[in-house]
Symmetry: D2
């Protein structure tokens, strides 16, 4: 089957650069003779037929904007066979021959299942702030969020130093410590507490032995969000053990998702968006487009969503040596 029309959607948590990716898919598609349709609200929009023809105008002036003009959602209906059936029927009735899905782990898992079930062409772009997709050096949104966190911690440092306080700053990344570890290095924080390390070591104890007592001056610890052991938990522990310490907590929360994307994320989104159209033209399907070592790579869905994206343990040494 010759592909003539491509649908594009964003799914899961929004990430800065998703708009740049939508723009790239749309314009590279049109540049190469395809028709483009925008699908609103993720897989739900495919199920509910919220689909609109896209021209180059629809994506004009959005490369520098956070969020996603296509809106996004986590679809529970698409997890059911009935939901995917409706989605497929709407694809057919809208003459959509291929789907470009911009999203994270869960969204690409959905694309994989859908592609296998109905034998359709699905291409994924790595759109998530968590950087937890395998096979690409970074994901669209990760660099911007890292910069946002570092900018916030720079601000918190001003007040931490002025008042000589200990701050526990909680950042996103429930299952992946990339944001926490790297923002700790970049902001000159004294420690990071991350999921990769937490099963077998008491990271707070190790840090406190290493020197929280050395001085009463300011100190910043970055903590990956966690259902049980977030920043509040650790602040409480320190407070109990050292009642005279001046401990504060800051939970950065949703502001980490927004904002104008960084140059890096705009370029990554532009290159992978063009790469998605090239993949379709080459007859490829059911894979994620990434960038490794400055080159476009195609990663089969199965590999991309592997849960074991390697975390470089040397980054822990880097932080330890630099926070003396």
């Amino acid at each position: 089957m010759k592909i003539k029309t491509i649908g594009v959607l964003t799914s899961g948590g929004d990430a800065p650069g998703m708009n740049a990716a939508i723009r790239a898919v749309t314009r590279a598609g049109i540049s190469n003779g395809f028709k483009i349709k925008g699908i609103f609200r993720g897989y739900d929009g495919l199920i509910n037929n919220e689909i609109k023809d896209f021209t180059t105008e629809n994506v004009s002036g959005i490369i520098n904007r956070g969020g996603t003009i296509l809106r996004t959602a986590r679809s529970s209906e698409f997890e059911t066979p009935e939901g995917r059936k409706k989605a497929y029927e709407n694809m057919r009735s809208n003459n959509i021959d291929a789907l470009v899905v911009i999203g994270g782990n869960g969204s690409l898992t959905g694309a994989k299942i859908f592609a296998e079930e109905y034998d359709v062409c699905c291409i994924g772009l790595p759109g998530t702030i968590d950087n937890d997709l395998y096979g690409t050096d970074s994901t669209i949104g990760y660099d911007t969020t890292l910069n946002t966190i570092v900018e916030c911690v720079d601000r918190i440092r001003d007040t931490a130093v002025s008042h000589e306080r200990i701050f526990f700053v909680e950042v996103m990344g429930r299952d992946a410590g990339f944001l926490a570890q790297n923002s700790a290095i970049a902001s000159g924080a004294e420690a990071a507490i991350i999921p990769e390390d937490s099963t077998d070591v008491d990271q707070l104890a190790r840090f406190m032995e290493r020197g929280i007592r050395k001085s009463k001056r300011s100190c910043i610890v970055i903590v990956s969000e966690s259902p049980k052991c977030g920043a509040l938990y650790y602040a409480d522990r320190v407070h109990k053990e050292f009642p005279d310490y001046n401990v504060r907590v800051s939970i950065l929360g949703h502001l980490q998702r927004g904002g104008s994307p960084s140059a890096h994320d705009r370029i990554l989104a532009s290159r992978t968006g063009v790469g998605a159209i090239e993949a379709i033209m080459q007859g490829q399907r059911n894979l994620m487009v990434g960038v490794r070592n400055n080159e476009i790579v195609y990663v089969p869905f199965l590999d991309a969503i592997r849960s074991d994206k390697p975390f470089d343990k040397k980054l822990i040494t880097v932080l330890d040596e630099l926070s003396i």
Copy 2:
């Protein structure tokens, strides 16, 4: 008594622009023949004799930095007669003839009591993000914090729109709604909940009647922090009444205090710092230096710390009319 040496300190919550103020007092003082001494950690440093000679070099390269190189603290000891006695003795033993205090309401109240008790020359600069000092159009730090909040809400708006959620965003200003009301106007928020209005009106109910139901699309409500009725309280109420609404909370917290000061705050700090030295040269004392209508003004401490800085109720109309 001819004043030869001036001590400068920062006190209370840190505010962006305090460093610009320290620089201005130091350099304008030296430009006019005074000796300057930096006092560390607020009034506590005066009590504990943490005092250091300052040259123009000490304040070089700090105009653009958040926080305060003099550190700051809230001193409970200075609230006691014994504490103030020690402070006075250290002033004398360090040959400090006049004191410039950069701080908010509580810090200037302390300066007023001290000045009266020991008949010393105290000049205040309005250094607080809360904008709650009377007699000056704005306070050092307020404009920067307003910009920081608006930048954060711009980011939250990206994710609120993408996911079509209702956000309650909590900002600083326990006793003054300047930050909440003005950041709501500036960020295009749908409503603000502020202390000035909260005693007699149920602001959330009024807002919800006005239209939260009109659409299911995104919506942002800015809430002044409050011991009882913060963003969590209001989010909970909405969630109970409309269980299908997608409600989220973001508490901006300490990052509101930090960051490089805005142009406005650096200029305000520079002008009032020069104004403080001029006041001393004119033999004035025990007043706060402010800017009204683009002119330097001297405001007696008693007036500056009045608790009734007027809140312009028309700003509520502005927000109401623009959030349709």
Copy 3:
């Protein structure tokens, strides 16, 4: 005549906050029962009938964006009686009863002439980065541009210090030194060269006597743009007199106009936009809406466009004392 429909346009050089002003006029107008029409490309759009009905949707999501969605232009045709006649006829044929003009000195002068010639209701909003309109504490765009300049000079300072160079940085403000003088104070520059001072004093000579020779370290001089005596002229003079100095020039240029408006400018635009609608409802006409001393004021066009907006000479002292 009862006013039912209001046209809004932006004219002259674009300024950050113009979109916030368009939004405020549109929404406050609709909130109060008016019909709003957007006029594109300034007075040219009125002459060429580029006019479109505006709803609240048209101004959604623009409060934080630089530039103007209505586009802008300097119209030479509107300076002719024929041009204004066409403009008036289009106003009538579009049933536009009143005009809100967002622009600077030239644009409000045009509004004044037009209002007098055809006896129509014109309200001006002070939209210009130059801050050269009389009767308002600041103009929409001025605060943002000041922050942009200061941010740029902070960056230039990094490289000036690292290489120990003398920089001449040229900023906008051909006829008004507000931007140059205040950005010099805010960025901790060593000197400013401004039009207000330039007729009778050789500002560079005065500065160089004051101390450019004192040290070989870095130094930044802010220069108001000028057809004859811009940054290049002064750099050349210094270079000739001190050939071993390491002199560089940076002309900030058009990037000073763009960017997301500051909180201050968004609030000013929102308040004056609401104020414009209130003025129309009160039957007022042919005046500019400004803010003085935190209060809305109405300034007759004749006063607003006076060329003598006072420049506070004390700011020169502030800079001199702080750049030691």
Copy 4:
């Protein structure tokens, strides 16, 4: 010879992240038992004996600051055998056993010659905004400068769109188009004119055929700085051929070098700084530390300074397809 003391210097054009690199070398060095000496003003400081003992305190609070606390310079004396002899003698008299040089192509070439001539251990860190060093995915400063340019072009876009103008924006990168090509992609510019392409193609002509005539709307062309063919040259050509086009030029200049480094550059500087100390501990020498594919790599000087860092021609296609 066992290495006990390490000297660190910055050389050539300053780049954001150099301070983070100085901090990393200093702290990782001290963490591993070395003594660290800071050398001021690049190789000139080694020749003139401007050397100071560094503790962890010396590099406290600098990770987020642009420029270099060690100052920098291009040394013509170090290019002479006499200069290098003095440098070597000062190394010996200060007991400096190894040198870490943070700089670009010219600085690492100097290090290579010096290392060979005197058989000393020299380690290079890639500190340059130009990204023109071979063997590392990016150089310290490149990402920050890219973001700065993109932010500036975003601003210029606001005014370009509002006035419907054609802008030629000149950016740094005399010999390498990385900054121009990638900032064009990231800012959504319509074209880039780069040195890699300029010998055999008239890039402006190609661009103008492609569509500058299609519409009279706004348009942005990014131009790599060039002695002959900068932005002014191209603007002039367009102006001559299409006299009714509204053409403007913006030369970004030195502000591209400054500013707080991005998260990416701080992490790159931190990791390579730690890597430099590790290299010394492993007995390695005369190589540059880089990061490829997220891993630390050691690149012999000869390879790093090769002039043929590959430019990915596919980026030209990306820009072409997305600027329709």
